[in-house]
């Protein structure tokens, strides 16, 4: 399979977008993955589910603004160069 670095960047942007569009109220709380439902234990072992929820929440918080910039740049470039 011929992968290029460009396809890696595309994959990264698409995956980050996918994590960023998970809506807190409409979706994550409905399936029990909300912010208030995950991080309970402060013990020795947070567990995989708590780590995943933490990761989703932090990606959504941190990457919101950079994703706006990157997506706009992508749109402009794709419009110009196809």
């Amino acid at each position: 399979m011929a992968f290029t670095l460009y396809s890696l960047i595309q994959t990264a942007i698409l995956c980050t977008n996918a994590v960023a569009v998970l809506h807190e109220e409409r979706f994550l709380s409905k399936i029990g993955w909300g912010v208030d439902q995950g991080i309970g234990g402060f013990g020795d072992d947070p567990g995989i589910k708590a780590q995943i929820l933490n990761l989703i929440r932090s990606v959504r918080t941190v990457m919101r603004v950079p994703l706006i910039i990157v997506n706009s740049a992508c749109i402009v470039l794709l419009l110009l160069f196809g």
Partner: protein, 305 residues
């Protein structure tokens, strides 16, 4: 136990064991021998160059002897050294050059031993990385320490051998070298990211850094090169046999190396410690080690027809 440490999940560099990268002087002599004899050598070369054109008598060359040009040259060289300092300082923020130097402090004996270990890890007894006052010893002094020289050279050799293999089948074109290189690089990056993600999810407290993981993932290129070369020399049976051997060797190598880093002390010594967490870590080690043969086959099977 340190609860704040555990809460942050996968800590890449606990305070216990830090790599000492601070000073250039004593560290440089530890990692590399100082073979620089600069200053006197370059200045005498410059004076020789000045004497040459003057004796040949060209009118334009007398510019070099004027005092203003000396001043200009001194200013230019100070500007160049200032620029170089600025570039070094800014580059160090993005790519940790001082940390990278540790991984390239190798010598021929180490490389030979490590390559032997990569294809025959069955006789090696002690897999622990030795430390020297909380900092890991340079790879030159300890065959168990990870390095980046073998993976880097292995990657480049793999690309060249792939080009050679494609050439023997008349499928070669110069663009294919770039395609092979970027493809292998992308798989490497994805593998390192996947391992990082799984280490984060399983909350392993380890002192494996990203560069360590890059080094471990890069060791499989040695096996791939051996397989492809055997395939070129002996055809498909040779390829399959040597790939099988190298896959088994890499599997054992990864398990024995990662066991000491990922699992707790008790499990690493061989006692069976039950518990969900240790089982999860064992599965993680197994899957990282099992991914190596898969990648090795995936990246080389299209080269042998």
């Amino acid at each position: 136990m340190d609860y704040t440490a555990d809460q942050s999940g996968f800590r890449q560099q606990p305070t216990m064991r830090l790599r000492n990268y601070s000073a250039e002087g004593p560290d440089a002599s530890q990692l590399f021998e100082d073979t620089s004899g600069v200053g006197s050598a370059s200045q005498s070369g410059l004076r020789n160059q000045q004497a040459g054109p003057q004796s040949s008598g060209f009118a334009g060359q007398s510019l070099l002897s004027e005092p203003m040009s000396n001043l200009a040259m001194a200013y230019g060289s100070s500007l160049a050294s200032q620029g170089r300092e600025m570039v070094d300082k800014n580059l160090d923020r993005f790519i940790p050059i001082s940390k990278l130097k540790y991984y390239f402090a190798v010598d021929t004996v180490y490389v030979g031993r490590k390559l032997g270990l990569l294809v025959f890890p069955y006789m090696h007894e002690n897999w622990e990385v030795s430390y020297q006052q909380d900092t890991p010893v340079a790879p030159r002094f300890d065959v168990n320490a990870p390095d980046l020289y073998i993976p880097a050279m292995g990657f480049i050799t793999y690309v060249l051998v792939a080009g050679l293999a494609l050439g023997t089948q008349n499928r070669f074109s110069p663009e294919l070298l770039g395609v092979q290189a970027s493809s292998a690089l992308v798989w490497l990056i994805m593998e390192v990211l996947a391992v990082l993600l799984s280490l984060y999810l399983v909350t392993v407290n380890t002192d494996l850094t990203t560069i360590d993981l890059l080094a471990f993932s890069g060791y499989k290129y040695v096996g791939m090169i051996v397989g492809v070369v055997a395939g070129l020399l002996f055809g498909r049976p040779g390829y399959y046999l040597s790939l099988l051997w190298c896959c088994a060797a890499i599997f054992v190598f990864m398990i024995r190396t990662l066991r000491l880093k990922l699992l707790s002390e008790a499990v690493a010594e061989g006692k069976l410690v039950r518990g969900a967490r240790n089982q999860l870590r064992m599965y993680l080690t197994m899957s990282i080690a099992a991914a190596q043969p898969v990648f090795m086959y995936w990246l080389t099977y299209h080269l042998i027809r």
